[in-house]
Amino acid sequence: MRHRFDVRVGPVGFRIGADWRAPIAQLADLYRDYAKPADGIPDFTVRLTATRPWRRWIRPSVAITGDYTLPEAAPLPLAQGLLAAEMAMNLQMALGWRRHLLLHASVVENNGRALVMTGESGAGKSTLAALLAAQGWRFMGDEFALLDPDTGALHPFPRITSLKNQSVAAMAAIKPDARWGPLLAGTPKGDIRHLVPDASAISAMDVAAVPALLLFPRFGFAAAERSVPASEALVRLTQASTNYTALGEKGFVALTRLIASVPAVAIDYPDGDTALALIQRLMR
């Protein structure tokens, strides 16, 4: 393809090709401190192509494709090409990655102990991860937690964070000197801006951590805390996993081992400070 950018995020190498220069230039800038795929051989190919030959120039429209494609993935205008790249990278992971059990979750680490936070969109897992990172925790990712079925360790996948609507301003307040991508207004997911993780998160992207706590946070309620039984945790995590069924028995073993080895807690929180206090106490 005409324009190309290769990058490695944690254990996963990507090759991203595009019909246009702009999304590739934006990716190259945001991912400039990341490594390249090991051996020069990426795990996945992502393609950002025009939906029709003429749509390269006339009302340019980006189809989200690659090794793995969802027929129902709607194309995006070229101005949102960066979002298209991010969605296509996620799609390859969700449909194609088999080395780890994937959980849709954010992960932060402190002293080698990892906190896994999962929940519906809006539960605050990205924001809480950023708040904790601002307190000195290591950010390991806020899209996928990569659980190693052989060792039970969590591997970082510190992709560029995509923030929506109000969380953009909220995060700008938490991290005043962070590096940002362009504002993508009016996307199907609302207004989006991409945030580059801390240098410490990027430089330690090959360092795994041992899970210490499973957290199911919920934003917008009075502070509350409840222990989650193993059965409920299992069901919630199977729903949060994109490759649990594809891994078969291996996925079941990995997930039940995780649940048996760490406490699982659901918390409600009205604001960040309350959540931080709860988490500090739970992780002690």
Binding site: A38, D39, G40, D43, T45, R47, G96, R98
Partner: protein
Amino acid sequence: MNGAPLLVDALRDPATVAGIGAQGWTALLTVARAEQLIGTLGHRLDGLALPDRVAAILADARASAEEGRRRALWEGEMAWRALAPLGCPVVLLKGTAFVVAGLAAGQGRSIGDCDILVPRERIGDVEAALLAAGWEWVKPDPYDDEYYRRWMHELPPLIHRDRDRMIDVHHTILPLTARIRPDAAALIESSVPLANGLRVLAPDDMIVHAAAHLFADGDLAGGLRNLWDIHCLLEEFGVDSLTARAQHHGLWSAVWRAARLANDLFGTTIPASWQVWDSGDPLVRRRLLARDDWGRPSRPVTRLGFYIRSHWLRMPPAMLARHLWIKWRR
């Protein structure tokens, strides 16, 4: 690098991957995924000295195919549990049959739907039994439904409501509208029973079906994988009685062409007398190899030609015009 030929070379002779470099590996793995042959490639290259990254990707592909195999076996078993009380033969087809029968063609193969063949006069009973056991219609569209029932060689696809897996129930191996009418009763009559009660096609019929699937039906999408199936089946079963059987089904020209192309691309062992020049082969070959280093379909004109051909083979002109008109208006 040059896309699909890299994959064909690697499957035919794994030694060709020596020295292809990072760019070559990247292209090869991408093309193999696009052609649904990554698991097969994983098995073909297993045991060679490979770059770490390639070894890891192919190990994942093998594990993934193994899981797919397990699920296909289970799906076949579930279909059998639903259908055994009917007392009619149930013949597994394509990928599921290859893995159940432990054939080389099943090694690392990706398997989509569960395809079965049953006698046409029992198709109503089979449908009712599957619906009672939790399968549901995928396409609730009345035109499509009527189209399948009247003209196709299979029921409209059914999907299981709990396991989310599709089953295609065939009563023959080509659409009823096609000019060629294989002998479906003979396919079932000669089928081979397995230990668990299910059946698979006899070796020659398996090859005939694979060739029919490749050339007499469809537009050659996924053609390299189908041709690899044929290569494996020909190598495993030989060709002693194949000509007569293919002629009986009216599919000798499809089988012969498949054998020539498998020989050409994968080096399949075929009789010298079969190796003749045919004016149609280069175009089919061109279509089979229409995939670039990025995994993109290439050669749009050739692809379109085969797409039109697939419809032409499938139905007479007036019916085709009506079908395309109805489809186009939506």
